[in-house]
Subunit: 303 residues, 4 copies
C-alpha cells in the first residue's frame, strides 16, 4: 500500500474513536484541549516526513520527553545510569511509591515518573541545563527552531507537583538524588511541558529507527544502545499497559498524557500519533488504535 493511502485508511478507521476517552484534567491547559483532534506523521530513515489530520498542530509532549532525555543521558555515559534505575516493567500504576519503597529508592525503569526524575537528575549532572539541552536536540532533529516550553503548562505542572516532589524526596531519602530536589523538579517539569507536533516528534524520534544515527549522519547512540532504548520502550513505554500494547501493536512506543505516542519500527521509520482522549491507563484511545491498524496494514510488527 502506498503511504498516502495507508495514512488515509488509518484516519478513516479511527474516525469513530475520535473524542473517545477522557482528556487529562489535572491542569487547566491540558483539560481544555478538544479530544476530537487526531494527527499522525511518519518519518522515514532519510528524514522525509508525511502526515495527515492535525499532524502539524503542537501539543504537550509530556512523558514522551522521557525517551529523549534517556537517549541524551546514555549518549553521555552509558552505564552510570543503570546503577540508579532498573530496566524492568513496573507492574503498577505509573507513579506508584510502593514498588519504589520495596526496592529502596531504585525506580524500576526510566519511563515511570520516578525513573525519569532520576534520568533528569543524571542529565543535570552531565550538562547543567537539562531542558535546554533537550530543547536544542529536539529543534535540530525536527528542523523546527520554534520548539519551546509552554510556560503556562510548566507553571501549572509546577503548581501540581506534590506527587513528583514526594517521589523525588523519597529517592533522595535513599541517597538516589544528586542535585537539589527543586532543581530536578524544575527541569523535569520544563521537559514535560515542551510543545511539539506529530511532524516534529516523528522527525525527532527518527534516530531510534536509524540505529542511533542522527539526521546529520553523526552517531548519538551506538546501534546496541539504540536497540536497548527501543527494548525499554516496548516493555515499559505505555505505563501499566505495556504488555497489552506489545500484544496489540507489536512495536516499541512511548505515550504521554497529552495524548501523543511516539512509536518506532526499527530499521524503517518513526511514527507519531496524537489524539487527546485517554483510556483508563493513560494512553490515547485513538492513538493506540491507529498504531494497531498501522502494524496490521503494514505487517511491520516486530513479532
Amino acid at each position: 500500500m502506498e503511504l498516502n493511502q495507508l495514512l488515509g485508511r488509518i484516519v478513516d478507521e479511527v474516525a469513530p474513536l475520535r473524542g473517545s476517552g477522557v482528556v487529562a484534567d489535572y491542569i487547566p491547559a491540558l483539560a481544555r484541549v478538544d479530544p476530537a483532534h487526531f494527527g499522525i506523521a511518519i518519518a522515514d530513515l532519510e528524514g522525509r516526513v508525511r502526515g495527515v489530520g492535525d499532524w502539524q498542530m503542537p501539543f504537550s509532549v509530556q512523558s514522551i520527553s522521557k525517551v529523549f532525555t534517556l537517549a541524551l543521558v546514555l549518549a553521555g555515559s552509558d552505564e552510570a545510569l543503570w546503577r540508579r534505575v532498573g530496566r524492568e516493567p513496573s507492574g503498577n500504576a505509573f507513579n506508584s511509591l510502593i514498588q519504589l519503597e520495596h526496592e529502596r529508592g531504585i525506580p524500576r525503569n526510566p519511563f515511570i515518573n520516578a525513573g525519569a526524575l532520576t534520568v533528569t537528575d543524571e542529565l543535570i549532572s552531565q550538562v547543567g541545563d537539562a531542558s535546554g539541552e533537550l530543547l536544542a536536540f529536539l529543534r535540530t532533529e525536527s528542523g523546527n527552531p520554534d520548539l519551546r516550553v509552554d510556560a503556562e503548562v510548566a507553571a501549572s505542572e509546577a503548581a501540581h507537583a506534590d506527587r513528583n516532589l514526594a517521589l523525588t524526596h523519597f529517592m533522595a531519602s535513599y541517597g538516589n538524588m544528586r542535585n537539589p530536589v527543586a532543581t530536578v523538579l524544575d527541569q523535569y517539569v520544563r521537559q514535560c511541558s515542551i510543545e511539539m507536533s506529530c511532524r516534529d516528534l516523528a522527525l525527532a524520534g527518527r534516530f531510534l529507527a536509524a540505529h542511533g544515527v542522527r539526521r546529520d549522519g553523526s552517531e548519538l547512540l551506538t546501534r546496541r544502545q539504540a536497540k536497548r532504548v527501543n527494548a525499554i520502550m516496548l516493555t515499559c513505554g505505555t505505563y501499566d499497559a505495556a504488555g497489552d500494547f506489545a500484544y496489540r501493536v507489536g512495536i516499541p512506543g512511548k505515550s504521554g498524557v497529552g495524548g501523543g505516542i511516539l512509536a518506532i519500527v526499527p530499521g524503517r521509520c518513526a511514527i507519531a500519533v496524537w489524539s487527546p482522549g485517554l483510556d483508563a491507563r493513560g494512553n490515547s484511545v485513538a492513538g493506540v488504535a491507529a498504531l494497531d491498524h498501522f502494524t496490521t496494514l503494514t505487517g511491520w510488527s516486530i513479532f
Copy 2:
C-alpha cells in the same frame, strides 16, 4: 557467518560461564544435574535443526511448557482466556501472591505460575487430559515419539507443591478456577515434568517463528495470534528479568528452572539453549549469555 561457525563461536564465548550460577535445588531430580552442561539448537522455518554441545540430552522443560500450553488453549478458543488472565508483566517474583490479591484472583500474565495454572485449567476444560494433549503436540512437532513425563520429577514436584496449591486455592476463592484444584495441579505438574532436548524444543517451538504454521503446513495459530504469543514471551517470558532480557538479548524468550530457554526470531528460526546454572532471577546464566551472543553475531534482535 555460516551456521556451524556461529554455533561454534557461541560455545567458545560461553565456555567460561559453564558451571556458573546455581542449579535449582527444591527437588532432588533437578538438584543433582551437572551445572556445566551446555547445549544449543536452532531450527529454521523448514524444520531443519542444527546443534552443538549437549543439544540432544533431555532435560526438564519446567516453565517452558507454559508457552505450548498457552498456544494450545489459544488454538482452541482465542478470547475466553483473556477474561481470566492478564497480559501485563508482573513486576514481582514469579510466584508472588501479592499482585494476585491486589488484582482479585486474576493473574497478571500466562507465564507466572498463577497464570499458567489458569491456562492449564482452561486447557483441561477444553480437552480433558491437558498434559496428554501437550505431549502429543510436542511429539509431533519434534518428531520425537519418545518424549515423556519424567515420573520422578513429577512425583517430586507434586510433593513440593504447597506454593502452587496456595495459588490455585487462592484463585479458586475468587471464582477463577473451573476444575478441582487437585486435577489442575496434577496436570500442571505433569506438563512441567516433560523431558526434552534442545533439539526437541527448537523443533517444537518452530511454529512460533513460522507465524503459527505447524511442521505439516497446518495452522495452529493465526499469524496475529503467533505474534501475540511472541509479544507475551518478550514482555513476560523470563520472570522478573523480562526487561533486562529484552534489553540485552532483544528477542522473545521463555525460560525454565531446569536451565532451558526457548527463544524465537520471528520469520527466521527458533533457538533452544540449555545450561542448568541459574542466576538470582531463575534464568540460565550461560543460556542468556549464549542468546546475547547469538543476536549480537547475527544482528537478529527485533529492535
Copy 3:
C-alpha cells in the same frame, strides 16, 4: 447501677441498631440467621451469669474460638508458639496473604486466620484431636454438656475453604506447618463451627477475667499469661478495627462473623454479646455498640 438495670438499659440503647449491618453470607447456614437477634450475658469471677435478650440462643462462634484455642496451646507450651506466629496487629484485612508473604510465612498474630491456623496446628501437635480438646474445655467451663460442632456449618465451611487452604499451603511452603494441611483445616473448621450461647461464652471466657484461673479453681494460665492473652485480644481481636474498638470500647474483645463478641474486664467479668448484623470490617454492629454503652455506663474501660 444494678446489673439487671444495666443490662436493660443496654438493650434499650441498642434497640434501634438491631437488624443493622449485613449477615455473613458466604455459607447458607450463616446467611439465613435473622439479623435482629440480640443477646448479652455477663459472668462474674464467681461464675454467676446474668443475661437479657437472646442470651440463651446458640449461635456459631466462628473466630471467637481462636481465643480459647490460643489459651489451650499456651497452657501446654508457653514459648514454642511464638517462634511461629507474631503478636502484632495486622494492619490489613483479616485474611490477607500480602503481609504473610512479606513476612515469609509467619502470621502477624494468632487471631488473623493464618495465625489461628498455626495455633490449631500447634494444638494438634500437642493433643491430637484439637477440636475435641476445645469442646471438652468449653463444656466444662460453661457447664453445658450439650455444646457441639454444628455439622451443617462445618460441612459448609469445609466446602468454602479455598482461602484458608491457600493460607495453610502458603505457610507450609515456608515450612511453618507441622501437620497435613487437610488435618489442620478439618480441625480448624470444626472449632469455628461450635455453637454456643452468650451465656455459654461468658462463662467459658470467665477465666480470662480471673487471671487464668478456671471455674474449679485450677490454673489454666498463669496471671502473666492471662494478661497477655487479654493484651492480644485488645490489639488484634477485632480484625482491622482493633484500634477503633480500643478507642471506643476500651476493653479486650474478640469478635466472630457469626455476630458474637467476647469481651473481658480484667479482674471483674466476662461479657458476651451477640447480634448477627456485621459492619464493613466484620464486627457485630449492635454488639460493638452494646459494649460501648457497657463501658461508658460502668466506667470499666481499662484506659
Copy 4:
C-alpha cells in the same frame, strides 16, 4: 513496695541492659549521646514526682511529642481530625508510604510520622504557631520554664527531612494537607527537637493518667477523650512493636528515637523512662525492660 524501693529495684534489674542497643544515628546530635544513660521518673495524680538515675537530664523527646500534639488538637476540635487520620495500628514500619498509598493519603494513626504530620497541620490551622503552643503547654505542666527546642537538633532534622517531605507532599497530592508543606515540616521538626528530662515528661504526661485534668485542675480533655488517647498509645504508640509492648508491658506507652518512653497507668500515674540504646524496632532497650519490671512489680498492667 515503697516507691523509692521500687525505683531502686528497677534500676538494678536493667543495669545489665544499659548500653545495649543502638543509638539513633541519622543526625549527629543524637548519634553522640552515651547509650549507657538511664533515668526513670514517676509522677502521681497530685503532681508529685520521684525519679532515679539520669532522671533530670534533658534528652530529645522526638516522637513522644506526638502524644501532646494530638492532645492539643483534640482539645481544640474533637472530630475534625478523624476525617484526616485513622486510629488503626499500622502493621508496617513507622514511616512507610505503602499503607499511605493504599489508603489514598489517609494515615493509619496519629503516631506514625504521616499521621503526626497531619496532626501538626491541623494544630497549625487551629493556633498558628503549633510548636510554640506545644512548648507553652509543656512548660506549664512540667513547671519547667526552661524547656526549649534544641536548635542544633532541629537544624539537623530539617537537613535530613527527605522522607518526611515525601510523606507530606504525598498527602498533599491527595488533598490531605491544609498548610504549605514547608510550614508543616518546620513546625513538626521543632516539636520533635524539644528537650525534656524524665522528670519533665512524667509531669507533662500526668494529665493522661488524671483523665484529662491538668495540674491546675482545668480540663484539657474530657474523661472520654483522655481514655481514647491512652487507647491509641497502647495500640499504636511503639511503632511496629505495639502488640509486643502491650503483651509484655501492658500499659499505654509512646516511645521516641531519642530513647525516651512515656507510659500511663490510667487513674494512677505517668512514668517516663530514658535510655538511648534502641532495639531493631526503634524502642529503648533498657526503657522497655524497665517498664516491664515496673508493671510486674506493681501489678499495674491494665490487663
